[in-house]
Subunit: 250 residues, 6 copies
């Protein structure tokens, strides 16, 4: 099985973190590959940056999906995921969606630990759009500057652990989600140091993508995740054009 | 006062409908201008198409906003609106947001009349994301093919009126929203033919944009609609780069 | 265009604040007039006082509406508004409804700054009844005695600004609503001193009332805001009787 | 124990129905008395009529409460109830609130059977304001003219029973509430003819009022149901003035 | 009238508290009897313990119900209640359900005071399952060890009162519910010492059970509280077998 | 890896269906074992039957868990799951929880196809308790008698497929969940015959249980899924006693 992880941001250092955790999490026989956005920002904290990341993810997916069995949008917040689920002929998930699925299987109330104050509003909206608002105990976030996005989990390990601890004690969290691709792998290194289960988006997405491939639930030909209906388009990259026309031959 | 209406789709015929209704609705002294997406699809029905439209709207806004006092995303579903509200230094609204504001001032339960079956799921998600789910009486939509997107309101006028009538009688609608830029102006031509108030997205957006300019409520420097924080970016069009750096000089 | 603002309370000093802000906010060509309740209390903080204010607003509306193009219930909490929307043949809005419409166009999460602790429960219920509960970041209120209701914004200006600041920093507010007719005009004098957009109920109501008149959305003849069905009544003031019979001649 | 039932409408025939069911439902030793509004409408179907009924209920309560141990607002929709709970020194409930309490004790999903199409929107808003929206299976209502409000349960008995039957079969109702003072006593006469428990508002209110008196839970001196704070008032009936000043001597 | 109160736990000392408060609360002519679980735990704080208590309550109910007019599940959290309402031919309520009904009749926002930190999550889930989530101001709980479950209200009286006081002042509670059978009777002894109405689960359940018997609303033969459909069973105690077959003879 | 699937009902024929689908779904190297309740009913449709099944599941889990890496409650509705997650030292999931996780990864709105009309209310409550109410498009169910519970998928295959088709066309389902252990494996045999993805509870639970074991998220020592606190118990089976004391040695 071959999985494509799409980093909708331009940070190669974060792509490395993603690749490392994906390889640790994958089942024997699963190959993972990470591609990095050629345009966009270093990491997404806002709706405007998410809009850019979504388009970059779509371009990457259009270009590369044909060689893979499933695709993962490898940024917390899942920019472009819902659209790609319509357009792609393979299963697709994202770090937030997959982390919520894992957390749902481990407890009831979920807290998310994030890397910046600003990022919280966007995360909250994404979680609520998935219908998980009533499961969200809290979002807690670092309130200090980040020197280098690829090094945030080393630089702020203690602060992140302390935020998680407070989420359990003060917010009633049953499960902790460490959010954001820059934190990929941190759950693994915190093993045993938090009093509740800890969830990582990348490893969750890899495992759940494998499950979707294995279960063969079938592709949507109706409902709101069927491919977009055929209609005129213009000015798009050839791969995007091809993706839009892929399913429109009845 | 100068208002920019951004059509995130490639249909010039729809831009004409938008421009005509915007001019009819604008106050004396307000100038309106409509720009059309150079890339994308004919009209948006799905999340994937909305993702493309959002990026197109962002590009157009980045390129043109400096000459205007306020901006309107002129597609129902408001692709890109929340992101643009963060990034732009002027007020911005969209057809769905503005139509909901008007409907909120006219009654409690709102029905939306739409141009295709497929479009309903996306509209519902947008309305719910605005927190208006409990106000939504129903979405009803045409279930027949559309010959030309610019002519849908002429071609299907009776069917659209009949859907609105059923929304009042069967779904308990207090207010009808005629949804989608291709229906711009239809509310005006249905005047007096429906038993409840009827709302048009374009005229609502024009009037509310004027109100936002007039009230001078102030620009967000904090909260989740402050400009995106400064961070590295690459590969973006110069106008997008400029927009991202606009507010980042403390 | 002529707008009637109905103060459902007996405080002439508050009516003056309302009139001054309404005149500042109105478009050229719009005339505003404020009437004050002949019976009731100085200002409304509770459901019982709102019940009295609603009846006073209805009496004033019945008596005066014929000379106006639209009507505004000029107390936060909108006592009587939903009933008057059924009964009156002209558009009607209120300070809370209008302030929420403006805030909806400016950001996602809204905080309300109020003049007394006691008033908060009633405000919350009104906001939730409009379906805006999920948009409400917080209500924060003064906790000190008010010497004179007409002077509260001068007397407590700093405390009010400080409450707004905390709502942004601690509650995640994207927009601040300064609530209550006694605060009419305060948003204008705070311009530039808060880091998020600030909304005033009176100016919002005046502008949105103008919009409703301009858009001509049509009067409800069906749905839950159609005029009350004809039926026996007794003991009412002649204007109320007339209002109840106004629309009952098919 | 003495209970006052306040009919906020002018229909003496409905007051008779209320009195008869109240006497049948009361415990030994409980005396009931019904007073009828001197002004208002024949029965309430709309928010505007509810506004009038609320004021009438307040006047009657102010005038008569001193001789009673508890008070019931005897119209479905409970006009004025929340305000009276603040102002009165005795327990107070209403037909909707009490019927929902009984239904809550009998099953999960509740359907309401009502006497007119128009009345449904108002009932729904009241039920949702009590937080019972998620318990509401449906509201079903007669769609035929009512000859005389006091005779609606005789005139339309079969249609009402049939609506209840459909609510069970099609809407998943566990419990039926027969709504509206004009239906007082109908539940009793339908005994055994519906396949789920049937609730009457008047008998529920009488029994629950007795319970509130018996349990002596204490009067609110804080929270949102404490008496309204002292402040200037004018133009009110002497009994209303007295009620407003009753609790304001610290 | 004869009421059975089922203590789903093994603590005889708590059964005594229940019996004492039930007798104080019962109307003249009502007899109450309390039975104690022969198996289970001392008191329920978790979902796993509730699962055991539910089965014990079912066994006790199956064994004893025939001699009674109504049954009360006498543990806060109501283990087994919804199932017993299906299976038993008599009215049944529980301490949480009944306390919420009383609180609903006394105010809008409700705080629950509980005996342990751990118990809060379970209580919250039960309250939300009843649809009362939007009415819940807070749950506050003791955070100290309990020496003997039957003596908790004496041992921690001041701490419990202080928690209630804070719920009013900080959480906006209109009504306090003192939760858990070990607190039965505490509301009575706190009379006049809290500034809002205080509700006790046992006395509420006794009074509401009496009301259900008096109102004769009828037994469910359809809907989701009709008796379980006939089907094979094995390995159950004879009383449980009898209960399952009781209603299955058409 | 060894997985235990607990059938909380007495039907050996259903245990066979569960075992067969579990073996088809399991990864290479995973062993599955199914145990059947020694007491209880043939299948669960009601809250009362679920109460019995939960206790049976707890007994089986207490007796057998030590030999396994994870446990699955193999009845839709997940009787006992939340309690077992507290008490067991290994990961545990259930058919509903796992099916919802899979469906969440495949689309937004979910319809559940069930084997009897009566079962729907219980399923709905379980789905809502997981916070998935807003994702639930509909529950549709067979309305015909079941000859033998182990043969329902053969006997009613066409009717079940037709219900699923209607859920897509009329209810807006993006994903179909075939609910109930008696339908285990049906999704596999319907492959390609429905226009949206189809989810099976057993295969979902097996795969997700494997994922939970692989991810090693850690065991709850705090939060609401920590083991129940130590306290007196009596009358329980030795395995249950042992389970209650398992984690109580600090």
């Amino acid at each position: 099985m071959k999985l494509l992880l799409v980093n909708p941001n331009i940070s190669g250092s974060v792509s490395d973190l993603i690749a490392n955790e994906a390889m640790r999490a994958a089942s024997p026989g699963t190959q993972v590959e990470v591609v990095t956005a050629p345009f966009g920002v270093a990491y997404i904290e806002t709706r405007f940056e998410a809009l850019i990341g979504a388009y970059a993810a779509a371009q990457l997916a259009a270009e590369h999906h044909e060689r893979f069995d499933a695709l993962v949008v490898a940024a917390f917040g899942d920019p472009g995921l819902a659209g790609l689920r319509e357009a792609l002929p393979i299963p697709v998930t994202g770090m937030t969606e997959a982390a919520l699925a894992t957390a749902h299987l481990l407890g009831h109330r979920i807290s998310i630990i994030a890397i910046s104050q600003r990022i919280q509003a966007w995360y909250r909206e994404v979680v609520e759009a998935y219908g998980f608002g009533s499961r969200l105990a809290s979002i807690r976030a670092l309130d200090r500057p980040i020197s280098a996005i690829g090094g945030v989990q080393q630089e702020h390990a203690d602060a992140l652990q302390s935020l998680a601890q407070r989420a359990v004690e003060e917010d009633g969290a049953d499960v902790i989600v460490l959010a954001g691709a820059p934190l990929a792998g941190l759950a693994r290194s915190l093993e045993g140091r938090l009093p509740v289960p800890v969830v990582d988006g990348v490893s969750s997405a890899v495992r759940h993508a494998e499950t979707l491939v294995a279960l063969k639930p079938g592709r949507a030909r109706a409902g709101s995740f069927a491919p977009p209906p055929a209609k005129p388009n213009q000015g798009l990259a050839p791969e995007m054009q091809k993706l839009l026309s892929l399913h429109n031959h009845p």
